[in-house]
Symmetry: C2
């Protein structure tokens, strides 16, 4: 039985596209997760207190091949918790949350922490220091322990109605999106100076020929998320580039090409 | 045996004050916690999965007399977790973290969630909606549950070396500081235009007559946190107002008075 919200009947409805959405390609849940994890250095750790109860605490982390590397003190409750039970989970929230915080991206990783040994211990230490420079002041204190979270479960939530799990293997193999965390200025430019182009994209390639306005909400290596206004209500759609891009410098030509194709349609 | 970091010997040391710190009054740990909790509407929930493992997830909350009010779906793992085991913990991080995230304030609350009934159910619903306006779109969906966290344990971390626990009774009785979350502009003004006054305060009232610079890092209802530079190194000290203030509008006269007293000294 598919799970769905129990709608009491008066929730706003989203108008469906009227024509085909030409290119819906977007990052996979594993890529989305890697992008969120790579975009910051702070997280909340859920660990188990001595009585088995959950304990939420703020932590910093670095990344070793996508595995979070923590550095916590045994003088703190979360440090004692990890030493007592290695089961751990991290929630990581994308920086620069939208006004409606639940519209933003966040992920949960869960697994077990291990103390790295040998070469991995040195690499983990460097990974933490690279992400958290101020850790140099305490990482060598004898009460601090470096832990690597061996990720077993991955859950991504990209906003309302956008969520999925990823396997730990897919998570390990994925790479962060090179665009999404650095596209803020370009998106502002698109919305401020090229609203007409975005509207043409939404009409010709996004499935909303009745759109009256389109706002870019996100750019990633595969395309743009557009929020479209129509006489039928507000919807979100996707306009994929002709080909994925690898650097922010390619975004301009990719969107110029989309505009040209939309206006030829 | 007092617990302390196991210093390997090369950590930076903090120069102690050379003279008395005249007024060190500051918010209590319970007040600090209430201030952090009141300053935002997002948190990370630690709940227990079916296997007893911890699960960290992003949530929004409102406040009912300081008790966090959550609204989560049973279609989501954290919703199922709370329904299966009421033990829960919330980590709440102050908005606008400093560049060094561990220098910022964060708190952990832990206890058990309950479904409010009767008049409290209505009050909890309104409290959540007041803090999270977009919840109006889903709070009445049948898969969503409103939970109140009955706070049993309170832990506050105000930054490096500033941390304490508070009793649940003190937490319940405390009020958020009315200054700390709205003082940003005033602090910028103090630092940009009145650095000389801050330096005089640090010298005359903060215990650092050898200070060569002082930067205001925070203002609360009891006084200012100053970071002072001395030939002996960098330290943080406290300059309390002559009397606590209740509104941001009183900050100017309180700091003018501190400046005058410092220059008379």
């Amino acid at each position: 039985m598919p799970l769905d919200h129990g709608d009491p009947g008066d929730a706003p409805s989203t108008p469906p596209p009227l024509t085909a959405v030409l290119n819906e390609q977007r990052p996979s849940p594993a890529e989305e997760t890697r992008s969120v994890v790579a975009a910051t250095n702070t997280a909340t750790l859920a660990s188990l207190s001595g009585d088995g109860g959950p304990w939420a605490s703020f932590v910093t982390y670095g990344l070793l091949d996508g595995q979070p590397v923590l550095c916590v003190s045994r003088l703190a409750e979360h440090g004692r918790n990890l030493a007592g039970d290695p089961r751990a989970s991290l929630s990581i929230v994308t920086p620069d949350l939208p006004t409606d915080p639940l519209a933003g991206s966040r992920v949960t990783l869960a697994g077990r922490v291990e103390r790295p040994t040998g070469e991995e211990a040195a690499a983990a230490r460097e990974a933490h220091l690279a992400a958290v420079p101020s850790a140099k002041y305490y990482i060598d204190f004898s009460d601090f322990t470096v832990w690597v979270l061996r990720v077993e479960r991955v859950r991504w939530v990209g906003g309302y109605g956008r969520m999925d799990s990823a396997s730990s293997a897919d998570y390990a193999a994925a790479r962060p999106d090179p665009i999404v965390s650095v596209a803020g200025r370009a998106i502002t430019h698109l919305n401020d100076d090229h609203a007409d182009a975005l509207l043409d994209m939404a009409k010709a390639r996004g499935g909303y020929p009745d759109a009256t306005a389109a706002v870019c909400e996100r750019a990633d290596r595969y395309g743009l998320d557009l929020r479209v206004t129509t006489p039928r209500g507000i919807a979100v759609t996707r306009v994929g580039y002709v080909a994925p891009i690898d650097t922010i410098g390619e975004l301009r030509s990719a969107t110029v090409e989309l505009t040209r194709l939309s206006r030829e349609a």
